[in-house]
């Protein structure tokens, strides 16, 4: 059973002057248990719409979706999820501790477990000192951390996080990445939307890119990274061997001691063979690859055109 199963999901909103806007177009997506999935897309691409459909906050126009086998929109489907909305807001007259206890009680957690989990989660998210203060006095980053804490309190098998890094400083972001990696280790499924490709590259198993309501790319991070290899930067030491034998390759940098060549993937074996044959000492080989951001931008440009 998939953690999330989306099939032919469509969502249309009423636009201005009786127009219709297709926010989601025939989306098919499966998230397997234990997977960390990054959902990328520019603003207005349909990321939050997908998530709101999954959480039953809006109704899809067509298609079906299930969470752990339960149809979305049902109370049962929400018992298995920890959900963080985009720019979360909570009853600000409550303290973080009171809110976590409220969430835990809604999930029908036993009292002893709830108390233990509340303390653990508050400490993990560095909210312990502020736990008794009403949330109306919290900074944006603190509210975001309360949002994460309330997804974790009942230790669900699936986490749906809408822009979890939003509003966090670099330390907060590092903490969230650490938490996601820890969840992955514990076999939990995480589905999160973001704009920040760097976050995806570091924590995700798979990535989906949505543009204008359509899923334009879906692949594992490993594949994307592998496909993105453009060639190698090879450094050789000057004053040794016959460097003229390598003149067919582009020199990217040169100084008194070293020369750096750009070697395309297809020419790598030939370069190494030539270097060996002509006694050229190779001192360094570095992979030159497109990063995930270039991949993302390429997909977005293609989707927009």
């Amino acid at each position: 059973m998939n953690a999330i199963d989306i099939s032919g999901l469509c969502k249309q909103f009423k636009g201005k002057k009786m127009t219709r806007v297709d926010a989601l177009k025939n989306l098919d997506l499966q998230i397997v248990p234990g997977e960390v999935f990054g959902y990328l897309g520019p603003n207005g691409a349909g990321k939050s719409t997908t998530i709101k459909c999954l959480m039953g906050l809006i109704r899809p126009t067509a298609g079906t979706a299930t969470i752990m086998g339960e149809p979305v929109g049902s109370v049962a489907s929400r018992t298995k999820v920890g959900f963080l909305p985009e720019n979360p807001a909570f009853y600000d007259y409550l303290s973080a501790e009171e809110y976590l206890r409220f969430v835990g009680k809604t999930f029908r957690m036993p009292e002893a477990l709830l108390s233990r989990r509340t303390d653990e989660t508050l400490k993990l998210l560095e909210l312990w000192d502020a736990r008794k203060r009403p949330m109306r006095g919290y900074s944006k980053g603190m509210v975001q951390r309360v949002g994460l804490a309330q997804t974790m309190i009942h230790d669900p098998d699936l986490y749906i996080l809408d822009e979890p890094m939003s509003g966090l400083d670099p330390i907060g972001r590092a903490l969230v990445k650490e938490i996601i990696l820890d969840l992955k280790k514990r076999g939990k499924s995480v589905f999160f939307s973001t704009h920040i490709t760097d976050d995806v590259e570091k924590v995700c198993d798979r990535v989906g890119v949505i543009v204008k309501g359509q899923l334009e790319a879906l692949d594992s991070v490993e594949n994307i990274v592998r496909k993105g290899i453009e060639g190698y930067i090879v450094q050789t030491r000057l004053g040794q061997g016959e460097h003229d034998s390598l003149k067919g390759f582009n020199i990217t940098r040169r100084n008194e001691t070293f020369v750096e060549y750009f070697v395309p993937v297809a020419g790598f074996n030939e370069f190494i063979a030539l270097a060996g044959h002509h006694s050229v000492e190779v001192t360094l080989v570095e992979t030159k690859r497109k990063d995930l951001e270039s991949f993302f931008l390429e997909i977005v440009r293609k989707g927009n055109s």
Binding site: V75, F83, P85, A89, Y93, V103
Partner: protein, 264 residues
């Protein structure tokens, strides 16, 4: 649902609007001395003033708490986090309603106690011609509370479809005003003078609104309390049943509308 009810109650107690409105309760202290100005009917006037002050405070609470609870949750995007918990929208609506209803009952209990104390002081200082019928005073406070709880249900129904503050607040105030006079309009329509003066279409329209709008005058037992008139048990029972049925219909309609609402 009980969980939502509990945090609703907590929220009201921590709300500054509530604290401001409850500040009006200080006025009870002045009731015995204000009532003494009437010279003859001091106790009757103190009952009138006490019940009217309770009524005014309860009206403010019903309008502001009822109209703003759901609306504020949607406006401030609290609903994204609350409605994504394993909780049905019906349970959320009922939890919010019950939280406010319980608060209204607690407030009525507190204000009723203070009012009875003020009336007692007035009746000891200026003994009335007819002894105070405490059961009628109590029934008047209780039925007044039911009236305002029903009004909370009206405001919540309006809030489930509204995108702004205006419809729930002003809609509730209009319903209160209209609901307080529907019985008088109905009685007038059945007088011989009205048969001649009102066209059949107008009469049908007035009857339609009579049945559609809540009949709030049925909850008004102030006259019984002030003049120590005996209560009509079957009338009280009918009003209580009317309250249950009408409030249930409003909440059911609210639950359906909230269930269909998209949290964009």
């Amino acid at each position: 649902m009980l969980n939502i009810m509990a945090i609703s109650l907590k929220g009201i107690f921590r709300d500054r609007i509530f604290q401001g409105i409850m500040g009006l309760a200080v006025l009870f202290l002045f009731i015995p001395s204000a009532a003494s100005l009437s010279m003859r009917q001091v106790t009757e006037l103190s009952i009138t003033l006490s019940l009217s002050l309770i009524s005014f405070i309860m009206l403010l609470l019903a309008v502001f708490l009822g109209a703003t609870s759901i609306w504020k949750d949607i406006e401030r995007r609290y609903t994204y986090s609350i409605l994504s918990l394993p909780l049905s929208r019906t349970a959320y609506l009922l939890g919010r309603f019950l939280g406010i209803a319980l608060f209204m009952l607690l407030t009525a209990l507190f204000l009723g106690g203070v009012a009875m104390l003020a009336i007692k002081v007035a009746s000891v200082l200026y003994p009335p011609a007819r002894p105070v019928l405490w059961i009628a005073v109590l029934a008047s406070i209780l039925y007044g509370t039911l009236k305002y709880i029903l009004l909370v249900a009206v405001s919540m129904l309006l809030a489930t479809v509204s995108t702004s503050f205006f419809l729930p607040v002003f809609g509730t105030i209009c319903t209160y005003l209209a609901g307080s006079i529907t019985q008088q309009v109905y009685d007038y329509l059945h007088t011989p003078a009205a048969v001649k003066a009102i066209s059949p279409i107008m009469k049908q329209a007035a009857l339609f609104f009579y049945y559609l709008l809540p009949n709030l005058s049925a909850f008004d037992l102030k006259v019984n309390a002030i003049y120590a008139l005996p209560l009509n048990a079957s009338g009280l029972l009918m009003t209580a049943l009317y309250f249950i049925v009408y409030t249930s219909v409003l909440l059911a309609a609210g639950a359906i509308l909230l269930g269909r609402r998209e949290m964009k």
